[in-house]
């Protein structure tokens, strides 16, 4: 007597061949779902390149990358396509943000991972999560209506739209990212390393700064890089608070324009689809995409290459 004849009919209801077919079909469908993400990347690359190449047929790549005058929306004699002012604006804001977020984020991470008792940690972490979840328009509002007026009391020559307050607020915005990624790296440092240092008579600060931070350095550096890449791509905050005047300057008190803010400005405006003015945003977007991609890849590379294995 075979086993099959004993099984209840409910079990045999689906024929084997049908089941096998169903298995294959389901697997295909799930595979297609996973493929969408690859298609997204191809789509991004394809559309950006497609429009950017058309743009570079009219404007030489070299003059785009090295030009110091950005005025694509002017009429032809004054029109100029040098992207450096936008890049400089982006980097200026990112530098100000980094000056705030890196030390504050790292200090927060050290506090949470090495000093704070569990109860304190459990209250602070959700607060940081809320900070990370606030929409960037809200940060823009905060920078424009609170931080700038406050700063103007100290620095009367500060313009209404300026890189400084946008950068400072962006620093506040990316603190949670720096701190949570660095804290993860520090929590991965084994207890035994800390205990060995304590046994040698090290104080808590010595353990934190000379044992834990060096041991977690790859993760911390990666956190810095990823946070800066986020700052480079941030859009609404700088559109609202940093201004719309592309300028090659190192002075954070001035009004500037970032690459992202320029893209928003044009997509809001009247530029006709397919015109040279409209294509500039794809050229700028492509440059932005490459910059953040390089930083993200660098971040992963740092983690993989320099990770201490325990």
């Amino acid at each position: 007597m075979s086993i099959a004849s004993n099984t209840p009919s409910a079990f045999r209801r689906t024929g084997r061949r049908r089941a096998a077919f169903q298995e294959k079909l389901v697997k295909r469908i799930f595979f297609l779902c996973a493929l969408v993400s690859v298609l997204t990347t191809l789509g991004i690359l394809g559309t950006l390149l497609n429009e950017a190449i058309k743009f570079f047929l009219d404007v030489p790549v070299w003059s785009f990358l090295t030009g110091t005058q950005w005025s694509p929306l002017f009429s032809p004699p004054y029109q100029s396509f040098g992207v450096l002012p936008l890049v400089a604006g982006t980097l200026l804001i990112t530098t100000v943000a980094a000056a705030v977020a890196l030390p504050v984020g790292l200090a927060t991470a050290i506090f949470l991972s090495e000093y704070a008792p569990e109860r304190v940690r459990k209250t602070i972490k959700p607060i940081l999560e809320v900070l990370a979840g606030i929409p960037t328009v809200v940060y823009g509002f905060f920078a424009l209506t609170f931080v700038t007026p406050m700063l103007q009391k100290v620095l009367p020559e500060l313009l209404v739209f300026n890189a400084l307050s946008a950068g400072l607020v962006m620093g506040l915005m990316i603190v949670p990212m720096v701190s949570s990624l660095s804290e993860d790296a520090m929590l991965a440092v084994p207890r035994s390393l800390r205990e060995a240092a304590y046994a040698l008579g090290a104080t808590r600060i010595q353990v934190s700064l000379r044992v834990v931070v060096p041991a977690a350095l790859s993760g911390i550096v990666a956190a810095f890089i990823l946070a800066l890449s986020r700052a480079i791509g941030e859009t609404m905050l700088v559109t609202i608070a940093a201004g719309a005047t592309p300028k090659l300057t190192l002075n954070p008190m001035e009004s500037i324009q970032t690459m992202t803010a320029y893209i928003v400005q044009v997509s809001l405006g009247e530029a006709v689809h397919g015109s040279l003015e409209f294509r500039t945003i794809f050229a700028v977007g492509f440059l932005l995409f490459i910059m953040t991609l390089v930083m993200n890849v660098l971040g992963y590379f740092v983690v993989r290459r320099w990770r201490e294995k325990y």
Binding site: T41, Y115, V137, R204, I205
Partner: protein
């Protein structure tokens, strides 16, 4: 003894002082972030609360601040989120199931995985450009609700996939083995065992991703531009506006009054966000206690 002292000087006081100084520094860093958050919230409340009213919630935008309302933006946000969720959830769960349960270990799977984590780092405005070129122009959807939600869906897809994969990975292997031992096929295991037990985790990821999407303005603004809408979108092909765009619109107008209603709009946005996060935290806690049983 003398040699000893040269090799090691305790410097007790100096070390204690450094310890205290740095402790103060670390603590003030934490306090700084929290103070920043508090100031932000208080500032928004001070500016916005006087403008909050039933009238504000139930009316369309207006050239006069005191008559302006947020109805078009609120319904736009709700519609956009529903469409986005409908597009994202099946795709993300499917992709996560494929990667966790079906995918062979080969170079193509590795490419998909690297690709997903890279997509999570692409600036949101770049998705906006993709949306303009692909959905608005090429697919000829115009600056419509559908084009906006497709763009947002692609934007949050990597986030939901990553969260869903984590939830699926958290399902103990013994569950799967038990089902296989009963003769279940792979699809039956996924449908009957893996999905039900990872659902709360997946749902948490979905809600958190949606709360990111709700506040996301850059890609949506690139798609929809600044429109002055005095109607509620009736079909997916209609033009639309959402809360962050409306807020941006009000912020960029001169005058203290518009600043006030911008703050009122922010309060509405933050309330929606916080309640979504609360639901996610509730689900996460329930999920955690369950798996410990």
């Amino acid at each position: 003894m003398k040699q000893h002292e040269q090799l090691f000087t305790p410097r007790r006081t100096a070390r204690k002082i450094t310890g205290v100084v740095f402790y103060a520094l670390f603590l003030s860093a934490v306090v700084l972030s929290i103070a920043g958050l508090l100031t932000l919230v208080i500032q928004v409340l001070i500016e916005g609360v006087p403008w909050l009213s039933w009238h504000f919630l139930t009316n369309y935008p207006s050239r006069h601040a005191e008559e302006a309302g947020i109805l078009a933006a609120m319904t736009g946000t709700v519609y956009l989120m529903v469409l986005t969720a409908a597009l994202t959830i099946p795709l993300a769960i499917g992709a996560a199931i494929y990667l966790e349960e079906f995918a062979p270990k080969n170079w193509f799977t590795t490419i998909i995985e690297i690709n997903i984590s890279n997509l999570a780092g692409v600036p949101s405005i770049v998705y906006g450009l993709l949306g303009i070129a692909l959905f608005v122009s090429w697919m000829n959807l115009g600056r419509s609700l559908l084009a906006g939600s497709m763009t947002l869906a692609l934007l949050i897809l990597p986030i939901v996939i990553l969260a869903s994969r984590e939830a699926i990975r958290a399902v103990p292997d013994t569950y799967r083995q038990a089902a296989y031992a009963l003769g279940a096929t792979q699809w039956q295991v996924v449908r009957g065992v893996v999905l039900p037990s990872s659902l709360p985790g997946i749902l948490t990821g979905v809600i958190l991703a949606m709360s990111r999407a709700i506040g996301e303005a850059a890609p949506v603004i690139a798609i929809s531009a600044l429109v002055y809408l005095t109607f509620v979108p009736g079909s997916p092909l209609d033009r639309f506006t959402v809360l962050p765009i409306q807020i941006f619109n009000w912020i960029s107008r001169p005058g203290d009054d518009f600043r006030g209603i911008a703050a009122a709009g922010i309060i509405v946005l933050l309330v929606i966000l916080l309640s979504m996060n609360a639901v996610a935290i509730y689900l996460r806690n329930r999920f955690q206690t369950r798996s410990e049983e």
